[in-house]
Amino acid sequence: MSEVAQARHITKRYGSTVALDDAGITVRTGETHALVGRNGAGKSTLVAILTGLQAPDSGSVTFGGAPAPRLSDRDAWRRRVACVYQKSTIIPELTVAENLMLNRYDRGRAGLIDWGTVRRRAHELLTEWSVDVDVRTRAGDLSVEQRQFVEIARALSFGARFIILDEPTAQLDAAAIARLFARMRDLRRQGVTFLFISHHLQEIYEICDMVTVFRDARHIVTAPVAELARGELIAAMTGEAAALATPRTRRAPAESAHALLDVDGLSTAGVFEDVSFQARPGEIVGLAGSGGSGKTEVAETIVGLRAADAGTISVTGRRLRHGDVADALAAGVGFVPQDRHHQGLVPAMSIGDNATLTIPQRLGPAGFLSGRRRDTIAAAAIDHLAIKAPGPGLPVAQLSGGNQQKVVMARALANEPRVLVLITPTAGVDVRSKEFLLAKVEQVADAGTAVVVASDELDDLRLCDRILVMFQGRIVAELPRGWADRDAVAAMEGLTIDG
Amino acid sequence: NRGETSSGSGRPVIGVDYPRSDTDFWNSYIKYVPQYAKELGLELKTTNSQNDVAKLSSNVQTLISQGVKGIAMAPQDTAAIAPALQTLATKKIPVVSIDTRPDQGDVFMVVRADNRAYGEKACKFLGTKLNASGKVVMLQGDLASINGRDRTEAFNDCMKKNYPAITVFGEATNWDGAIASQKLQIRLTEHPDIKGIYMQSSFALAGTLQLLKQRNLLVAPDDPKHVFVVSNDGIPKELQEIAAGNIDATVSQPADLYAKYALHYLKAAIDGKTFQPGRTDHDSTIIQVRPGVLEDQLSAPLVTRDGGAYGGIQSVKPDDKSLWGNNI
């Protein structure tokens, strides 16, 4: 009877898609259990079933040996299991207090909601978890991290001893992740059990005891983390034995080459200041920094998504107009935006249309589009980036996350850019797709393109010939190839590097 | 009380609610009202209920608060006005109802042309012209309009009684020219031998003529292909078309007389005069509809090109100076 929760022989279908196929998991009391698998493996579906949001088509869920409550009895579920879902369950228009106390308000006499008590209890809750947020704030005005912690605090407030975190770190920067982990360790000491989902395998090794791997809707293996080496874990996830981390053999580009991208004195009040750097053909420059450091904004300014207050951006000597994406594209800038759902893709449109959205002029004369030409280009991209799809006519909404990201990459490469700007290009992408995408970036650089990677993921940055570390809107350090993880992290956190 | 707020000039204040301002007929009524008010020495407050009876009852309140001594209105919905009439009765404000007769409640006088007579005149004219046989399309107004219903019923009754060999296709049109044209077009396709059209209002005039033109049916009255068209209202455009031989007749609603006698009776009411059923001094008859409701039935002349008599009804020529359409 040591298991907190157990799901057995769970099968779940969505239409003709099998999300879970006779899969199961057993989470024991006190452990921190990792659930890993590639995009679409069925992890979030299992979470929905374990938290009573969805009923399985077949199979059973038990808590501490007792059968799960009825689906309609939400409170009973929430006493057994708390969850921070992959998709935000914050309601932006409501206050933080109300989000915390949603559907369990304190009532005064006459049965009406007593807002004073609600706010006070919400405040106590946040204080207890050391979240420093005014509970009267509109939730939509919170930063990503604040929002995440409000969600976590809310999940924990139900008194459940079993907590599921579905990709909680996907949107947090390193410092916030560290704070989250400190928190989790704390709770674990108090006997709380965790089910932790992440695509960052190093996090699994850092915080988890047990790991369960799903692949293609099936349970593959459950083992203590310590007994499963990284290579084995990846093999279980991908179903192949091939080792991944082949050491790179990149040679830095020749020193003499002229700058393709020249950023000079770029400033935007309150966001970043006096940012200047150059990128040469074939060079990969990393823009590192934690959340709020301004790296994303600098990258977005280069590609025209934002207008800077001052400074210049030149590509092959031509000055770009500020805040004009079309001008940047015309000058030969290609880019992968930060969030593929937000800025990367038009979900209802086909792979072909999405991949060629930036190059209408190449699809036909005088504003007309040739479907054949589009499909030829898209088919080439599908081939080139190994996108798993039956053809260019498929709506991107039907692709998995990793493949969607490849379509975004295809779009970035469509205009054969001289300068390629990538913003967190591998966020939310599983480990295989990530390797693949990074290899492609390298290949592009080798062909003579200047690449800028704005990211805080060490895996992305490791690719770079040099990284520029930003802190509070300024470039504070430049690390040449061969930097140690520790130095990069320290610089991103604003600590001065000694030596 | 506020009833004494009449102007410094000492002229009695009256209120007139215009029923709508989106037909030629009512617009000329709206044009005539201030003119006659000036003639009769009345001070005028006006509102417009835009064909909405809820607005009418609110307008009545507004007029009352402006201290009017009498109100003329033309409730397009004759049932719904009863509560307003009751309010006015308790405040002893006399009401003259134009064009329609309230179903319930007292009014000082109803000034109205006999809508049943419109339908009958149109029927007699078409029956005569078609020699009592053939097919006729009637472009009705809105099902909800009492005037439209009166015309429809009278036309149908008269056809059944006097010209049973004539087939009538009745089409509801919501007083909308586009719908009228669409329905007429369908009927003309289905029955190319349609020989007569009765339009219950001038709204469909231009569209009908256009359609006949498109189908090469817009020919002189002596041509065997001619389709006889009877319109209703008597707007200037109709008179022109009759003179040109494009349409054959219309019933001229007396817009000017509506305005004139509405104010005439209001002034009389304020002056404390009363009326009895019988002939009037202006070629019409007052009848008692029910106790408390008198109705002055103004004559509405049939207008035809030759001014002849049809089925016992004498008509006038389109250039007759007595027609309101010739006086704007």
């Binding site: 969850c83 704030t137 | 506020r2 417009n48 402006q66």
Partner: protein, 334 residues
């Protein structure tokens, strides 16, 4: 336990105050109109005229109340304007005696109010079934319903007006309570209830949660489908009640009752700060919206604006109100 987060952005505190102020956003406009009205005609602020405004707006105000509930929950109900006519229409049809009043005289007059409300509720059930149960798009379902219901009223009435209504139907629209028309009391009472409902009950808060993020609401244990059913059904029932009040005031049900009212209803709700995308807006705001529109109409009438220009002026004022609310709220509207 280190601090988890950074300091909250500065503008937030101001934001809270602003959100409360937005509720009162129309109050200056209402005062302005009152002043202008009084200047134009000394009658404007006379009790009689104020009662006149209150009574004429009370019925449509119930539609605004109903629509606000639906809008906050992130849906739309265009068919309210038809329910406004059809529900009392059916009641009249069944209770009014055969003959001049155009009814069937099937049941005694006392049934009129229950029938009205039942028809309203039934229409709500039909809407909810199509929208919630079958997942059809609310805008287009209720657009279809608007056309069907309007057609049904024309059908049963033969396009004519029902009158000689039973006394019970007349009551809500004609009774006076403490010297003020009952319909004003009913309207004010229901809005007060609406303010409490939306602001201080968990049902009301569920509406905001659903309108704001339906998945989050589900995860929080809110029975979203049930809440939406209740919202749609009570909105329709409120619309039926509004129609009943109008029928009583006019002592009749016209075949066209309610036609076109939905435009006014949407304009009032939006000017009053209710978002068309759900999850935002208050009952008080909605009330100020409809009040403002009716005051404007009253002023235009008193000012003797030529009828053909009233429509254009009214529309222009609505547009201006929108632009102004855009400027005061300071960000792109939803």
């Amino acid at each position: 336990m280190g601090e988890l987060t950074t300091a909250p952005p500065r503008r937030i505190a101001g934001g809270v105050a602003l959100a409360r102020l937005r509720d009162l956003a129309l109050v200056p406009a209402i005062i302005l109109i009152a002043i202008v009205g009084q200047i134009i005609s000394p009658v404007f602020l006379a009790p009689d005229n104020l009662i006149n405004i209150g009574q004429t707006m009370s019925e449509v105000a119930l539609l605004v109340l109903a629509q606000t509930i639906v809008l906050v929950a992130g849906k739309m109900d265009l068919s309210l304007e038809s329910t406004f006519g059809l529900a009392p229409g059916v009641a009249a049809w069944m209770t009014v005696a055969v003959g001049a009043g155009h009814g069937l005289g099937l049941v005694p007059g006392g049934w009129a109010i229950p029938i009205t409300l039942a028809v309203g509720a039934l229409i709500g059930v039909a809407n909810a079934a199509l929208i919630v149960r079958f997942g059809l798009h609310g805008f287009i379902v209720t657009l279809g319903m608007l056309i069907v219901l309007r057609g049904l009223l024309t059908g049963i009435s033969g396009g004519q007006t029902f009158f000689m209504l039973p006394d019970s139907m007349m009551y809500p629209g004609t009774a006076m309570w403490f010297g003020i028309p009952a319909s004003i009391w009913i309207c004010l009472g229901l809005f007060a209830g609406g303010i409490v409902l939306l602001g201080y009950t968990s049902f009301g808060r569920s509406l905001y949660a659903i309108g704001g993020n339906v998945d989050a609401a589900k995860a929080a244990g809110i029975r979203t489908d049930r809440v939406l059913w209740i919202a749609l059904v009570s909105a329709s029932t409120l619309a039926a009640l509004g129609g009943l009040m109008l029928s009583g005031r006019l002592a009749s049900v016209a075949a066209s009752q309610g036609n076109g009212a939905i435009f006014t209803v949407f304009a009032a709700a939006v000017i009053g700060g209710v978002s068309l995308n759900g999850g935002k807006g208050t009952m008080f705001g909605a009330f100020t919206g409809i009040l403002l529109l009716f005051m404007i109409q009253n002023v235009l009438t008193l000012a003797g604006v030529p009828a053909q220009w009233i429509g254009a002026l009214n529309g222009a004022i609505i547009l201006i109100a929108l632009v102004v609310s855009r400027i005061t709220s300071g960000k792109a509207q939803e």
